[in-house]
């Protein structure tokens, strides 16, 4: 089960290398490229074949690659993950779609007990090159269980890797890199940003998967975000700039392992850090960042690390989600508190 090398040159190159795409389309193209590059890559999920997925991320793939590579599975998340384990042992590289964040929990046992631990249990004799795609986060006016941010559970589980893309270029490349990875990867997709557009250069040399990235340089304070909150953080930095405050924005991209070197470097310059996330704050990714930054940047900090997050409640009825979700004003309010410390 050696990692198959992905020969990019054989992937069908689009006519124009630089295109303006939605995150949704970029993911679709990334999945297609991965399937073209490696016949062992298969897609599994509910409604992902004929329908193309409820968000159409797998649109057209079953038509072009057949029902044996794009599986409309029975409606059972433990079944999706549990059979992906067996297929991975058999040499496949399954890409599982969990239809919505809140439906991952029936598969939680298989993810935590088998996917995460088989490599360790067998001391490397079994690899688990499985990608679990999860549309996550709120802001779409949905009913219960359709707007959650469960990423901390998985970042807390040894053996899993966890990433989240925030823009179309990352969506296109990160999904292919995740499929290439011999470790299991939880791939969190910012569902409310699916239809936001950006430029994607399909010929560019992508950065590494497990690296954070500075998206905007600044000097007064640092904002760290991931997934859907990156757009919010960038908007906040834009608004702050109009008031003369210079904010640095870092897109985490990888939640496990965390790549905090760019954050430490930034905080040592700015002395102030605000972490933004939709997930509840207690025992979260944001908490972990706060802990590590105080450990590594203790003498550089001019203010405590602040977290702007969802509240420590279940996700509320959607008429209240505007209050629940961090927005530009809450981020700027936290920045003001940090600067005033």
């Amino acid at each position: 089960m050696a990692a198959p090398t992905m020969d990019r040159s054989t992937a069908a190159a689009p006519a124009t290398p630089v295109q303006t795409l939605t995150i949704s389309k970029a993911l679709n193209m990334g999945l297609r490229a991965a399937m073209e590059a490696n016949p062992k890559v298969i897609m599994m999920g509910e409604d992902i074949g004929k329908l193309g997925g409820v968000f159409r991320i797998t649109d057209g793939l079953q038509k072009d690659f057949g029902e044996q590579r794009v599986l409309d599975t029975p409606l059972a998340e433990s079944g999706i993950i549990g059979t992906a384990v067996g297929l991975a042992i058999r040499g496949y590289r399954p890409v599982c779609e969990i239809q919505f964040d809140g439906f991952i929990f029936p598969g939680f046992d298989q993810i935590v007990s088998q996917v995460a631990k088989l490599h360790y249990r067998t001391q490397g004799k079994i690899k688990m090159p499985i990608v679990i795609r999860v549309p996550f986060g709120g802001g779409i006016g949905a009913v219960e269980h359709h707007s959650e941010s469960p990423e901390s559970y998985f970042a807390h589980t040894a053996g899993l890797k966890v990433v989240s893309c925030s823009n179309p270029a990352d969506a296109y490349w990160m999904i292919q890199q995740a499929i290439d990875c011999d470790d299991p990867v939880l791939f969190f997709e910012p569902k409310r940003r699916y239809y936001e557009k950006g430029e994607v250069d399909t010929t560019a040399q992508p950065g590494k998967l497990f690296e954070s990235r500075v998206l905007r340089s600044g000097t007064d304070a640092t904002l760290v975000a991931y997934g859907p909150m990156v757009r919010t953080a960038l908007d906040a930095a834009g608004a702050a700039a109009e008031d003369g405050t210079s904010l640095e924005v870092i897109d985490l991209r990888t939640l496990s392992p965390l790549d905090l070197a760019p954050v430490f470097e930034s905080v040592r310059r700015t002395g102030r850090l605000v972490v933004v996330s939709e997930a509840p704050s207690e025992s979260s990714i944001a908490s972990e960042i706060a802990a590590k930054v105080q450990q590594e940047c203790f003498y550089s900090l001019q203010a405590p690390v602040l977290r702007v997050t969802g509240f420590d409640t279940p996700y509320p009825p959607s008429k209240l989600e505007e209050e629940f979700l961090p927005d530009l004003d809450r981020v700027l309010h936290a920045v003001d508190r940090s600067l005033a410390w």
Binding site: G79, I81, V85, G86, I89, D109, Q114, L258
Partner: protein, 398 residues
């Protein structure tokens, strides 16, 4: 042997109809009898008294040498089991999971497999491990706490022991789907997969989902349920109103109950089931009706939940004794043979004791090794910090 007509074998009159709001008293009694005694549908080829009997759908041609081999397998794996149990009592193992009483179910099923078939065990499958060519010493580390299974699952076609009840059934379903996707199913050269689980596991969602998945993908998978009557303290009636093999019907594949203490019947039924699967007629459920003669684990105390009379009754159905009787009656084995098997068992026991007491503890690095295939710099930093801390105690007590 048998064909797919077998699939539609009639439900016993006694079974409660799925649509019946309430079964009749007769149905309940008959159902319980089926749970307790195996019932009329139990496939048996060798009675507890060592009498060879026939079955309309299943039979097996077995040579004296083959039967001596099965006998030897069962005696040796029982010795492994008893030695390991004793090693736990001496403090050499943290825990042991006895297979006593289930030797025929496991040797029969295991010897039905081909090298190219794949097996997914639960954690009591020491007999299956034996048939896959795994040295019993390789089982010890799991229970001593030095490792979590050391064999190569791909090379041996024997997955690691799975401790979360039922998880492996879905993993096996996926593997069998892969065999099908790879074009390895459809003729006598085909591959098949077996997964092993117990009566308790049949209540798990993963087992139900495994039935569904294997069925809708026509996976070449034999579900081998060892109904040993007890899930720790809970009897099979706590898991099911229906005899377990009859559940298969609801999923659209055949279910067969075999006398799990009859190595010949188990071998015959399992070979048939594997052949059906490799030809593309899977999946199939086998319920091996057997008995856990010892505790659930060495930490368990069966006297709190079952009568010793029950054990005495099952001792009369011992899986090894009936084969010995038959071998003697047929004059297929003499005392020299039985003595040589005993000598082999003694030697194996000695090897196990020797190996176990000399097993080194794993080094501290083992905590951190192989968590990831492609590494994790944060974990590596944590490891280095810890090893640096540990090295501060070098030469001293810590």
């Amino acid at each position: 042997m048998s064909s797919p007509e077998q699939w539609t074998h009639p439900e016993p009159d006694a079974a409660p109809a799925a649509t019946a709001a309430k079964p009749t008293a007769e149905q309940v009694i008959a159902g319980l009898r089926a749970t307790d005694e195996g019932g009329a549908d139990l496939v048996q080829l060798l009675t507890p008294e060592g009498v060879r009997v026939t079955h309309p759908d299943f039979d097996i041609d077995i040579t004296a040498e083959e039967l001596r081999g099965l006998y030897r397998d069962m005696v040796l794996i029982r010795r492994v089991d008893r030695e390991a149990n004793a090693l736990q009592r001496k403090g050499q193992l943290g825990i042991w999971v006895p297979l006593l009483g289930q030797e025929a179910a496991q040797i029969g099923a295991g010897r039905a497999m081909r090298e190219t078939d794949m097996a997914f065990p639960s954690y009591r499958e020491h007999g299956i491990a034996w048939t896959r060519g795994i040295n019993p010493t390789e089982l010890l580390g799991i229970f001593r706490g030095t490792d979590q299974g050391t064999w190569d699952p791909v090379e041996k076609r024997f997955h690691p022991y799975t401790i979360v009840i039922g998880n492996q059934v879905l993993n096996a379903a996926g593997y069998a789907m892969g065999q099908k996707f790879d074009g390895k199913v459809g003729d006598d050269e085909g591959e098949a997969t077996m997964c092993f689980f117990g009566d308790g596991a049949t209540s798990q969602g993963d087992v139900h989902e495994g039935f569904v998945w294997a069925a809708v993908y026509d996976a070449p998978l034999v579900f081998f349920c060892q109904n040993n009557q007890w899930a720790i303290s809970e009897p099979t009636e706590r898991q099911s109103r229906l005899p377990l093999y009859q559940r298969a019907r609801g999923y659209g594949f055949p279910g067969i109950r075999v006398d799990g203490n009859d190595v010949l019947a188990t071998l015959a039924v399992t070979k048939w089931a594997l052949d059906e699967c490799r030809h593309g007629n899977g999946p199939i459920l086998i319920e091996a009706f057997t008995y856990r003669m010892d505790a659930h684990t060495t930490s368990d105390d069966p006297t709190r939940y079952r009568l010793s009379d029950e054990l005495e009754m099952w001792k009369l159905k011992d899986p090894i004794e009936r084969v010995k009787v038959y071998l003697v009656k047929q004059q297929w084995a003499d005392s020299e043979f039985f003595e040589s098997v005993e000598a082999d068992a003694d030697k194996l026991g000695e090897e196990l004791r020797e190996f176990c007491t000399n097993m080194p503890d794993p080094p501290a690095e083992r905590i951190f090794s192989n968590v990831y295939a492609e590494g994790n710099p944060n974990l590596e930093a944590q490891r280095d910090e810890f090893l640096d801390y540990v090295s501060g105690f070098a030469g001293g007590e810590h």
